[in-house]
């Protein structure tokens, strides 16, 4: 087992395919990425499609050239090592099983290619198969398997070589809802069992939050924030991270600060909603100051009859069974709130809105960076 260290990593794809003579160079797909994954840690690379997370993983695996920068696995610089010499296991998004081989041979393939002797291979397959619950699939051909089963075999194949570093490329993205959850739990259990340093690529924040020790959030090839799930949830560094983590996402509204006496309030265009600015921000705000305010749907509450909250009209109401989501128009934007109280609302109902001012975050209107107190 080894750690992973990525230093000032850049990747630019050359655009060969284009016909234009003076084609502009592509932007960097990965830009100045720095990441340290300690031995035994499970980190998730999280970001929207095309943000460079898979590219980073593929460079780590050696399937993609590095434009600039260094990748170390353990203490070894692996930039120019062949994938097979990097001691990695890689679970592919599309499973990438060898169609003419049985499940057994698929799992055993790597050991066979290395020339491990037969008895040892058999022992290791019999050891891994129950772990991934594919012991009764061993004689089958890959085409006969369901998506979930294929992914199990795919992961079994990645871990049988006892990798120093386990890489997973969106392993759950092709599974349907139920299989996905089951598989997620299984991966969690597996990683607890084998305690292998793991890098896990996903675009699903739920997977990242539930599995990872640390999450690296990437957008447009740039690392936005690297921290534990609690850190990225409670203390996002910018608007992107705030809106990417959490389901439903954080409400982010443009606001103008209004001062009344000693106090400041968030006010919104075309809305009479007024939220008290927590005192910790008093140093950075002033009357007329424009910024964006973020608040999680959980931190918007419905007040009781004697509430001091602003009366607002319900615009949308979704009953999801164990929680209810209510949308309220604030100017042109929609403010979502989640409540687990049993009351049913319909659009047009008036509720009193209370916002936990102390849980609000401020973001710069231009850059989206967090404004800290």
């Amino acid at each position: 087992m080894a750690g992973l260290r990525i230093e000032h990593l850049y990747k630019r794809y050359e655009n060969n395919g284009k016909k234009k003579k003076n084609a502009v160079q592509n932007d960097y797909a990965v830009k100045d990425l720095n990441l340290v994954c300690e031995q035994g840690e499970f980190i998730a690379l999280l970001g929207p499609s095309g943000c460079g997370k898979t590219t980073t993983l593929r460079m780590t695996a050696g399937l993609e050239d590095i434009t600039k920068g260094d990748i170390y696995i353990g203490d070894t610089l692996v930039n120019n090592l062949h994938p097979k010499d990097r001691h990695i296991g890689l679970a592919f998004e599309d499973y990438a099983m060898y169609p003419p081989l049985t499940v057994y041979d698929n799992i055993a393939f790597n050991l066979k290619a290395k020339g491990v002797d037969k008895a040892e291979i058999d022992k290791r397959v019999q050891e891994i198969a129950p772990l991934m619950q594919c012991d009764d699939l061993l004689d089958k051909m890959p085409v006969k398997l369901s998506g979930g089963q294929k992914q199990r075999v795919n992961i079994a194949r990645a871990i049988i070589r006892r990798p120093e570093l386990l890489l997973m490329d969106e392993p759950l993205s092709h599974l349907d809802g139920k299989a996905r959850q089951a598989m997620r739990t299984e991966i969690k259990r597996l990683i607890n069992d084998i305690k292998c340093t793991t890098v896990y690529v996903t675009h699903d924040q739920l997977e990242a939050m539930s599995l990872a020790d640390k999450i690296a959030i990437i957008n447009f090839g740039v690392l936005q924030q690297f921290g534990t799930p609690a850190e990225v949830y409670d203390d996002p560094v910018n608007e992107f991270v705030a809106s990417f983590i959490g389901e439903p996402p954080m409400n982010i509204l443009e606001t103008t600060i209004a001062g009344e006496g000693d106090h400041f309030f968030f006010t919104f265009k075309d809305s009479n909603l007024k939220i008290a600015v927590p005192e910790r921000y008093y140093k950075v705000v002033s009357s007329g100051f424009k910024c964006k305010m973020g608040v999680r749907p959980m931190d918007v509450l419905i007040g009781g009859a004697d509430s001091m909250g602003t009366p607002e009209e319900v615009a949308t109401f979704e009953n999801l069974g164990d929680e209810r989501r209510i949308g309220i128009h604030v100017g042109e934007a929609l403010l979502m709130l989640i409540t687990d109280d049993e009351a049913r609302y319909k659009s047009g109902d008036i509720i009193k809105l209370e916002v936990r001012g102390e849980k609000t975050h401020l973001f710069d209107i231009e850059t989206g960076d967090r404004i800290r107190e």
Partner: protein
Amino acid sequence: MESKKRLGRVVQNLLLVIYTIFALFPLLWMLILTIKPDAQMYTTTFVFSPTLDNYKAVIFQSDYLKYMLDSLIVAGGAVIVSVVAGVPAAYALARYNFKKKEDIAFQILSFKFAPEILVVLPLFMLFQKLGIYDSYFGLIWVYQLICMPLLIWVVRGYFEDISVEIEHAAQVDGYTWYQIFFKMLVPLIKPGLVSAALLAFIFAWNSFTFPLILAGTNVQPITVAITKFLGTDSAHYGQLAVAATVSALPAIIFALCIQKHLVRGLSFGAVKG
């Protein structure tokens, strides 16, 4: 209702049988000609005294076997060259992105567009100048016009159907590029490769215009040689029929040998999945 259905099936089969006879009749007629004596050649009744003289004359008293061998060499050689050069080309067209990729692919396909008769005269001049007129090399080379486009386009489709992740998985598993190519990819494209190679072989075997103009003395494929049985003063239709019948055999034998792959190959490529 039941009987109506059965009647329908009978009629259906009857029509198919009639069509089969209709379609195969020329072949049957050719087979009959091979065992007819010259004197009865033009009778249209099925009454004649069968003889093997035609076979004897063609196989033992002419250079027929030499022509067969020539055909085998040029058609077989052409297919081998096509496979050796075409499979890597197909792989490159399927996997890599390079300038004018689609143009090149289309250019290769377009070799099949021009009628042979149109290009054969310039080729003749060229062959004379290069000194490859009437040689095995020359014919194998020019047959690439027939074999290569077919092979490249069929095999390219097969390569495109194989997930690139399989190659990456094999790389991570420790295979070198040639091991990946020969041990992983070639088995996966085998059905397509085999069927394309067989079709290419048949086309090359049947080619007439190219060998007629570009060869003729040293190298004489069977298609050209058959015309020898038509003299200016006499036409030995019986011998002609024998020559044609026997020359169809190699392709049929090859097809039978690889039938298993062929059927799978032709249907496998059609449906992506």
